[in-house]
């Protein structure tokens, strides 16, 4: 098996790039969701007259 394996650094780089893109992408999505949900809550309070 060892001789069949092309130990290619591109695959490792691609795997880590995919991992980081997923983590950072989801982090950005979370921050955007949190910001929008807080803005919506503030708006609902303004409309409803809640403190």
């Amino acid at each position: 098996m060892p001789e069949m394996i092309a130990s290619n650094g591109y695959y490792v780089a691609a795997a880590y790039a995919v991992g980081w893109i997923c983590i950072l992408g989801y982090l950005l999505r979370l921050h955007s969701l949190l910001r929008r949900s807080r803005e919506a809550l503030a708006h609902a309070r303004t409309i409803g007259g809640a403190p």
Binding site: Y16, L27, G48
Partner: protein
């Protein structure tokens, strides 16, 4: 949902939870340094073995997410507390992300080692099925607007989906597959075990941080929804 139910939830506070984000950064940095600078290339796989430092922790932590989905879905069916539904949904979303990551990283590893991107073996197929089930779970939540019905259907779907995880885990033992059986510390070099565990802890901190933040966003949305309903019904607003 009645106007009276509008006062059951409070707006969440971040509190000390962001510290898990910093733990994640710290452990990720340590794990990457260990994986690339300390851990030597594998005799057979060479540097491709380093892909397993992210593939395996993603798969393990995906299991934790789906376990949380099952626990909080059961709790919702038992207590009918909206917060349990939202924790289950948050865990399902993060679990689906890790599930997708597990599949993609596995494919990137499989191409140079097995010679193919994908084979329909038991482990890969059952993991794909679980991904599709939870993608369906998230779609269900997006399409059902009535909160109680959405929570009830999601709890049932979440439990059904989580049942798949033991099948995925045992698939390499129950069926003859190209995917290898689980490694144990006795079958791995201690350097590899250390790197793997460090990465697993880093992904665990990411998981805790992500689920908590997603829960905060979902709970804030839910409180907003309740406020709007109460306002429409002319009730008082206290959130």
């Amino acid at each position: 949902m009645t106007a009276a139910a509008a006062f059951t939830l409070e707006v969440p506070k971040s509190g000390r939870w962001p510290i898990f984000g910093w733990f994640a950064v710290l452990f990720l940095a340590g794990a990457q340094i260990t994986a690339f600078a300390i851990s030597p290339p594998d005799r057979d796989m060479g540097d491709l073995q380093k892909i397993l430092y992210v593939h395996v922790p993603a798969a393990w932590n995906m299991g934790i997410c789906y376990l949380l989905v099952a626990i909080y879905s059961f709790r919702y069916l038992w207590k009918r507390d909206d917060r349990d539904d939202l924790i289950a949904a948050s865990a399902a979303e993060v679990g689906t992300l890790l599930n997708g990551l597990t599949l993609v990283l596995g494919m990137i590893w499989a191409r140079p080692t097995w010679g193919v991107w994908w084979v329909w073996d038991a482990r890969l197929t059952s993991t794909l099925i679980m991904f599709l089930v939870f993608a369906g779970y998230l779609a269900l939540r997006a399409f059902v607007e009535e909160p109680d019905r959405r929570a009830l259907w999601s709890a049932v779907a979440g439990i059904m989906g989580a049942i798949n995880y033991p099948i995925v885990y045992m698939s390499v033992r129950w069926w003859r597959t190209i995917h290898q059986v689980q490694s144990t510390p006795s079958t791995l070099d201690p350097t590899y075990t250390f790197s793997l565990r460090l990465n697993a802890v880093a992904v665990l901190f990411i998981l805790i941080y992500f689920i908590r933040r997603r829960y905060e966003a979902a709970l804030t949305e839910r409180v907003t929804e309740q406020l709007s309903q109460a306002a429409a019904l002319g009730g008082p607003l206290h959130a």
